[in-house]
């Protein structure tokens, strides 16, 4: 376990694939961070059947558990109440929705309850370590039970949850008569992590779902396929410097502050890049390729990404809002990738305004940098659960 005063970042990623020919997901994933309590609750629920009905069942179950636990109820108690209250399908005589819930602390303590979903994987040093469960049988329904676990996570440990669409993928086909199964999943995850030990949760979840789908004949998923990964690790930080400082005599100070930052560094803005280049005496080179509707990237030693300012930032906000499955290979796409692969993001926002941006002859209206960054902060915090801080300089 991690020391009491030491906290880690809990990374979380989820990926899903709909059942073939359905227009909505029958599995539902929800998570919420509680920064004051240094806590994160994540739920994955699989609704009976598929399509809209399953989606509503899973959504209701997951949301109910999350709200229950967040309201301060004991996780085991909350899960038990939900387990006992879930209706039974009249035709199949089984529960309407299954669930897995993890109540995680940044200090490493985790409580897990599973009802009906495949058993989760606890991954330590890239290897799956079996965990012993305490089984609680429902008082109301004798065929319904939940498995509960308490684990102390260490730096680098991961948890992987999935719906039965993953372990049963390929079932009945020529190659995987009994499906991919838990053994196949464990083998795949261990193999991938031995190649890329620091793989992000997002990528691991995506890879598991993609691999499960390839097991299905003609890649047509017979069930909804979902995977959720949690990872306790040192926070990955990113500093974004955008806009020159209000007081030009502080340029040097901020340039040094920027370059000495421990973590990844990005500059959004031509003038800002020039300022850093001038103060640190490091040359900039700029690409000439046309990439999308944005100016190309530039490069400087010690800086991970350099882009143009307000157009690129506005485009990046758009990408964050629309969340396309594949990000375009332009400067904003690269910036968004950098955001998604960071946990703590700090913006150093220069307050100097470029008068030319208000020229009525400009063919489009340029947003104020400050406003774009504020919108970005909101979406990164609320939708992507990042820790964001803004500093206006």
């Amino acid at each position: 376990m991690i020391g009491a005063d030491e906290t880690l970042f809990i990374d979380i990623g989820c990926s899903q694939q709909k059942k073939y020919n359905q227009n909505t997901y029958g599995d539902f994933f929800i998570s919420k961070r509680y920064p004051e309590e240094r806590r994160l609750i994540a739920v994955l629920s699989d609704g009976l059947g598929s399509g809209v009905k399953a989606n509503i069942l899973a959504n209701m179950t997951a949301t109910m558990i999350l709200k229950f636990v967040a309201a301060g109820h004991n996780l085991m108690k909350a899960a038990e109440i939900v387990m006992n209250s879930l209706p039974v399908c009249q035709v199949r005589k089984i529960s309407y929705a299954t669930f897995s819930v993890a109540d995680c602390s940044e200090t490493g303590a985790v409580k897990i309850v599973e009802e009906g979903n495949p058993e989760f994987l606890y991954i330590k040093n890239g290897k799956v370590v079996p965990q012993e469960a305490k089984v609680i049988v429902s008082k109301k329904f004798p065929n319904r039970f939940m498995r509960t676990y308490t684990i102390d996570m260490d730096v680098g440990d991961r948890l992987l949850f999935c719906s039965d669409g993953v372990t049963q993928s390929g079932l009945g086909g020529a190659t995987y008569k009994l499906g991919w199964r838990r053994e196949g999943l464990i083998d795949f995850v261990e193999r991938r992590l031995s190649l890329i030990p620091d793989m992000s949760c997002r990528q691991l979840a995506q890879e598991v779902v993609a691999e499960a789908q390839t097991k299905e004949p003609e890649r047509k998923a017979k069930d909804d396929i979902s995977c959720m990964v949690l990872h306790w690790r040192e926070p990955r930080s990113l500093l974004v410097f955008t806009g020159p400082p209000y007081y030009a005599d502080r340029d040097a100070e901020y340039a040094h502050l920027f370059i000495n930052y421990q973590g990844k560094k990005a500059i959004c803005g031509g003038t800002t890049a020039n300022l850093v280049s001038r103060e640190l005496n490091r040359p900039i080179t700029t690409e000439m390729f046309v990439k999308g509707a944005l100016p190309a990237n530039s490069y400087m030693e010690g800086v991970d990404l350099i882009t143009e300012g307000v157009l690129t930032l506005s485009k990046a906000v758009e990408y964050l809002e629309d969340a396309p499955e594949e990000l375009p290979d332009d400067a904003a796409g690269k910036l968004v990738n950098l955001f998604l692969d960071s946990d703590c993001i700090t913006f150093m926002v220069g307050a100097k305004v470029n008068q030319a941006h208000f020229d009525p002859d400009l063919p489009l209206e340029l947003e104020l940098r400050k406003n774009v960054v504020k919108r970005m902060e909101k979406i990164l915090t609320q939708k992507y659960l990042k820790q964001v801080s803004l500093h206006f300089i």
Binding site: N274, T285, V290, P295, A296, H357
Partner: protein, 89 residues
């Protein structure tokens, strides 16, 4: 040096220049006559700082710097015309 004696063309890709038409200038290299390729060195710049310079007179973005001369409201045609003068001389 490799670029010695070449005409230096610097295209500003700052925000103002980009929206005012520099986006079209990124293709400049492809539009030059092939025999000029060895005579011209084209590069992009994060920002030439002209749009925020009150002394830039009345010339406007997009800006292209050809050797030491700043060209305002630059277009592919305007840059090629200027290069023609320099290459003929």
């Amino acid at each position: 040096m490799l670029n010695e004696g070449k005409i230096k063309v610097q295209i500003c890709l700052g925000t103002t220049c980009f929206v005012m038409g520099a986006s079209k200038l990124q293709d400049l290299e492809r539009m030059l006559p092939p025999e000029w390729k060895d005579k011209v060195d084209i590069s992009a710049q994060t920002c030439l700082g002209m749009c925020q310079n009150p002394d830039s007179g009345f010339i406007k973005a997009p800006f292209v710097k050809i050797n030491d001369e700043m060209i305002g409201e630059a277009s592919v045609e305007k840059v090629i015309d200027k290069l023609k003068e320099l290459i003929v001389v």
